[in-house]
């Protein structure tokens, strides 16, 4: 059970949140302009970074915001995302 530091609510247990994936995995601007292969790369090749990555988490049992944090997938350490990474 990791603790996530919600910028709105403070440190809360992971079970208040829903994982939302790597922030780098954004929907392409122009899907129609992509080849089938490129589109499949976006849909099915989801980033799974070893080490630190920016992640979105939905604080659904809290402030209902999608927040961005940095988490190390190896050690499960969590730290705040840099300012320009955060959403909403």
């Amino acid at each position: 059970m990791i603790q996530i530091d919600c910028p709105y609510c403070g440190k809360r247990n992971e079970d208040e949140f829903v994982y939302g994936g790597d922030t780098g995995h954004r929907r392409p601007e122009d899907p129609a302009g992509l080849s089938d292969a490129e589109w499949c790369e976006y849909i099915y090749s989801v980033p799974n970074t070893r080490g630190w990555a920016n992640e979105t988490w939905w604080h659904v049992r809290g402030c209902n915001r999608w927040i961005t944090i940095q988490r190390n997938a190896e050690s499960n350490e969590v730290r705040p995302a840099s300012q320009n990474e955060s959403h909403g």
Binding site: Q3, A32, D36, I43, W58, W66, N76, E77, V78, H87
Partner: protein
């Protein structure tokens, strides 16, 4: 064939008198407080302060169980949590399997029996395995029961019967289990000398401290020790420390509380047995600590020598512990077998307790010089460079054969009934390992010590290989101060004053992983719990296993209740010896939670019976319960009726009656669980255009529209109707089960992909009750219920939504349907839901209005081929496959799922299209998931061409019907296909999936 083992249990215990193994004065038991108990159906007496194990030893019970595989008789080996032999089943009201007798406090009326022995511990039929051991080597199960491959279930049952550890209680566990959350600055695990010093120091600094210890009283090793602190018995220092700790308001101390798991970010679980409140049986603490001090101590490990598992072979420290802490002699005549200096003190303690210690058999060349005089004074012979070649006595040690290399390797027999052994000490690094640390080998103690701490954790004292009492106190004090200081409590910079302790020699251990075995057939046990011998490890290596993780799994060493506590280091050492590497490069296996067993009750806490999954209710739930509703969970934890049976009706009868009523008269359905999301904001239309496949720009206020929502991989996420309630207010309905999934999907898009869109979502599912009146006579019911708007076909069209009053209640009524009949969906505030339900029932009475359950609703939608997510709309079918291509606005450049839908079209090829099926036998209902097969194809991979998604008996058509996914199904209309059902093949004709009213005239009427 050899006869089964006979026992040598003393007959005199029959007379229920405290036996002569009890010392007159020593120990911490209360001799004025007798406790009667039963073990294996015999009555015994012990004292308050005993464990079951100490009470059994006091009564001279030597065999307490049978080993797992060979059913060898086993006796008590330890005095603590590491016990692997004395595993018992508690009986009576407190029934519980696999309790370690060494940690179970004795209580009046305790009743227990051995596990793993049939018919009894003393005569065990399974012990026949003992004589066939050469046929049951490591990996035996893998090798033998592989053939025939499909019989594992049969073998599994048979093996389980002879191998089992205890039996699951049949009665529900008595008493309550609960969870408690706790936050603290410093968590100290272990209340031995190190832990007490740490808790005292941290406590004095003002930090919030939690001190947990798995024994009934604090003190750890000092409870059974002759150590001296400041000139007094160490236990006096313990008592003073505990008194001070318990007086500190910022310190919480738990006894009989084991830290069982160490998880991420200093989150630990602690199982507290028999807590302060009598009605709580066990309490699982979930602790978040800023700093953790591990003072978990060390466990003595046995030596690996021939027949080292005989009852009467005991860890030296345990033997001494029984004398000093419980006042029980574990034997009368002892031999000590060791490879280190630590046992010399134990030999003295045994001798001073009245046991005749005949000799110390020391594997090393040089014995502890400092102890020689004391040993000589007690007539204890020291035999250096010696080993035990044989242990005589099946039911109890009767003698040992010693071979001394100094004495020309001649065997010498020494009679004894207790063999106290020590192979060194294993620091308890399990929690450190669970926290993510990697223990490292330390040659000075021939064991593993904690490595770098990945979390805010530090180990101190014996659990990091520091066994000297004075060092433990110092390390404990320092760790407590450092932990408190890291939390900002650095006012107190001295902690406790370090007391003077009795001197102790260095451990001076000779690493010994296997004592030379006298015969090829000799067995030396490494993991007593799983009956793993040194031969098994050698065999595993011969068969190619090198990694300790693989050897562990192949031999099952360390996989039982022991979890490597006693055996792990010996196994690693032996593996290193065999493969000619260093124990450090073999490395340890990863320790995983739980360190000690946790009951299911403790895991569940109060989340049992009705509270496991609390039901959600609608305003009508009580009415259904009172009126024959057959309730079940049908998504999102809502409890709703599948059908509402009248007295004497079967499920089928009720569903048929309800379905006929909706098609021919009028029904009423509680649609409250339907997900509802309120959508506001100037960009709502843009948003809907992007998340649905169709266009939303032209929807006028007071109208609604069906939408089909896809994942971006082109598969159905949800379908439903969205209403335009006012200029800038929309209301989306979602499936009951996916309401939260849809909200997550939409919120994520708004927050993460399109933060520029000005749209606000509010989930309002629980705020509104939804009742649906459906059937040809629905309009009459609406009129009878005093609906204050014109509900005529012309004034109130299909897909209109209107604010009005129904039965005097403010409502919104919509012309939407999931049955294909004329329908009015009435939405009122939840608090008026039941009043509206009652009003509609009385308004509809003369039309025989029929409450309808969700199974009936499923049948009605099947007749109309309305797509259900998860059935027809599965993870493969796309929007065109399910016949919903009409909902796609081709002129939109993009929507979620469009690109993947285009890719399906680009790829082309056969698609699983939704069709209807009319089984040839009208009363045969194909079950969900039945494959449709092509009987002409020999290619197995190509044989399955489709699958039934749902089948029903349709009372309206008076025959069975089904929906199915069929490869290129729409080009197979009229064909006969073959269904593969559980028992036989059946045939069906492919047809238009809309079985009733294909033009939709009824719902528009």
């Amino acid at each position: 064939m050899q006869k089964v083992t006979r026992c040598v249990q003393p007959r005199r215990t029959k007379v229920m008198v405290e036996s002569t193994f009890r010392l007159d004065a020593a120990g911490r038991v209360d001799r004025s407080h007798k406790l009667a108990f039963k073990f294996n159906d015999r009555k015994y007496v012990g004292y308050a302060g005993d464990t079951l194990a100490s009470a059994l030893l006091a009564n001279g019970v030597s065999i307490v169980g049978r080993s797992f595989k060979y059913h060898r008789p086993r006796g008590i080996m330890s005095a603590g949590i590491e016990e692997t032999n004395a595993i018992v089943q508690l009986l009576g009201d407190a029934e519980e399997p696999n309790v370690t007798a060494t940690t179970l406090p004795l209580y009046e009326g305790l009743e227990a029996r051995s596990v793993n022995a049939w018919p009894s511990v003393n005569v065990d039929v399974g012990s026949i395995n003992n004589f066939f051991h050469r046929f049951i080597p490591a990996g035996f199960y893998y090798k033998t029961f592989m053939w025939p491959g499909n019989r594992w279930d049969w073998y599994g049952r048979a093996i389980r019967k002879v191998a089992g550890w205890g039996t699951a209680p049949r009665k529900p566990a008595g008493g309550r289990y609960e969870h408690r959350y706790h936050h603290c600055d410093v968590l100290v695990v272990g209340a031995g000398p190190t832990g007490l010093a740490a808790a005292l120091s941290a406590g004095r600094s003002g930090a919030r401290v939690l001190l947990v210890d798995n024994q009934t009283e604090a003190g750890g090793g000092l409870l059974g020790s002759s150590a001296v602190i400041d000139g007094s018995p160490a236990i006096a220092w313990v008592a003073d420390s505990v008194q001070e700790i318990d007086a500190m308001p910022n310190v919480v101390r738990l006894a009989e509380a084991s830290a069982t798991g160490y998880y991420d970010q200093n989150y630990l679980t602690i199982l507290e047995r028999r807590p302060d409140k009598s009605w709580v049986k066990e309490r699982l603490w979930k602790v978040r600590a800023r700093q953790v001090v591990l003072a978990t101590g060390a466990i003595e490990r046995p030596l690996t020598f021939a027949d080292n598992d005989r009852p009467g072979v005991m860890l030296a420290s345990a033997a001494s512990n029984y004398c000093l802490r419980f006042g029980v002699m574990p034997g009368r005549t002892a031999v000590v077998f060791t490879n280190n200096n630590g046992s010399y003190q134990h030999a003295l303690e045994l001798a001073d307790s009245g046991i005749e210690v005949k000799a110390i058999v020391d594997l090393r060349a040089q014995a502890d010089a400092g102890a020689c005089a004391a040993l000589a004074a007690r007539n204890i012979e020291i035999l250096p460079r010696s080993r035990i070649a044989r242990v005589k006595g099946a039911g109890r040690v009767s003698a040992v054969d010693v071979i001394s290399s100094n004495g020309g390797n001649k065997r010498r027999r020494i009679r004894c009934d207790l063999l106290a052994v020590s192979g060194g000490w294993n620091p308890n690094v399990q929690l450190h390992s669970q926290s993510g640390g990697r223990p490292e080998y330390n040659a000075d103690i021939a064991s593993f010590v904690p490595g770098t701490s990945p979390q805010d954790e530090m180990s101190a004292g014996a659990c990091r290989g520091q066994f000297r009492l004075s060092t433990c106190l110092e390390e404990g004090r320092d760790a407590g101060l450092r932990a408190a200081s890291a939390c900002g409590f650095d006012e107190c910079d001295e902690g406790i004053a370090l007391p003077a302790c009795s001197p102790e020699p260095d451990l001076d251990i000779l690493a010994t992983w296997e004592v030379t075995l006298p015969k090829k057939s000799s067995r030396a046990f490494l993991d007593f719990n799983n009956d793993v011998t040194s031969k098994d490890i050698r065999l595993a290596v011969r068969e190619g296993y090198r990694s300790v993780e693989l050897v562990k799994r192949y031999t099952t060493a360390g996989m039982g209740i022991d979890q490597g506590k006693t055996g792990n280091v010996n196994i690693i050492g032996l593996l290193a010896e065999i493969t000619d590497t260093a124990p450090g490069s073999v490395g340890t296996t990863s320790f995983r939670p739980a360190y000690s067993p946790i009951s299911f009750g403790a895991m569940a806490g109060t989340d049992s019976t009705d509270l496991i999954m609390p039901w959600r209710r609608t305003p009508v739930t009580d009415w259904f319960i009172a009126n024959g509703g057959h309730l079940d969970e049908t998504g999102a934890l809502f409890r709703r009726p599948l059908f509402i049976a009248k007295p004497g009706e079967t499920a089928g009868d009720a569903i048929n009656r309800e379905a006929l009523a909706v098609r021919n008269g009028v029904g009423i359905y509680d649609g409250t669980p339907l997900g509802k999301i309120s959508i506001k904001g100037p960009d709502t239309v843009t948003f809907l255009d992007r998340v649905y496949t169709n266009s939303w720009g032209k929807l006028p206020v007071g109208r609604c529209k069906f939408g089909y929502m896809l994942h971006d991989d082109g598969r159905l996420l949800d379908d439903g109707v969205t209403f335009r309630l006012s200029e800038d207010h929309y209301l989306m309905s979602t499936g009951s089960g996916v309401a939260e999934v849809v909200l997550k999907h939409l919120e994520k898009l708004l927050h993460c992909e399109w933060p520029d869109l000005d749209v606000y979502l509010t989930p309002v599912t629980d705020q509104w009750a939804v009742l649906c009146v459906c059937g040809p006579k629905a309009r009459e019911v609406m009129l009878a219920a005093n609906t204050d708007i014109d509900v005529s076909r012309e004034a109130f069209k299909f897909l209109d939504t209107r604010f009005c009053r129904v039965a005097g209640i403010d409502a919104r009524v919509s012309r939407v349907t999931y049955t294909g009949e004329l329908s009015f969906e009435i939405v009122v505030a939840s608090r008026h839901g039941r009043r509206l339900w009652d009003a509609l029932l009385s308004a509809g009475e003369k039309y025989d209005i029929t409450p309808v359950g969700s199974d009936t609703s499923m049948l009605l939608r099947t007749e109309k081929a309305f797509i259900a997510a998860g059935l027809e709309g599965d993870g493969y079918a796309n929007i065109h496959d399910v016949g919903m291509g009409w909902v796609v606005a081709d002129d939109k450049t993009d929507f979620i799922g469009k690109r993947s839908t285009m890719r399906d079209l680009n790829i082309g090829g056969p698609r699983p299209e939704i069709v209807g099926l009319l089984p040839t036998e009208k009363d045969f209902v194909p079950s969900k998931g039945s494959p449709i097969i092509d009987t002409d194809t020999a290619d197995e991979a190509q044989r399955m061409i489709g699958m039934v998604t749902i089948g029903f008996h349709s009372p309206n058509l008076n025959r069975s019907i089904a929906l199915a996914q069929l490869r290129d199904g729409r080009s197979r209309m009229g064909d006969t296909v073959t269904l593969f059902t559980k028992k036989r093949l059946a045939t069906a004709q492919v047809c238009n999936p809309v079985f009733i009213d294909p033009d939709g005239e009824r719902m528009r009427s």
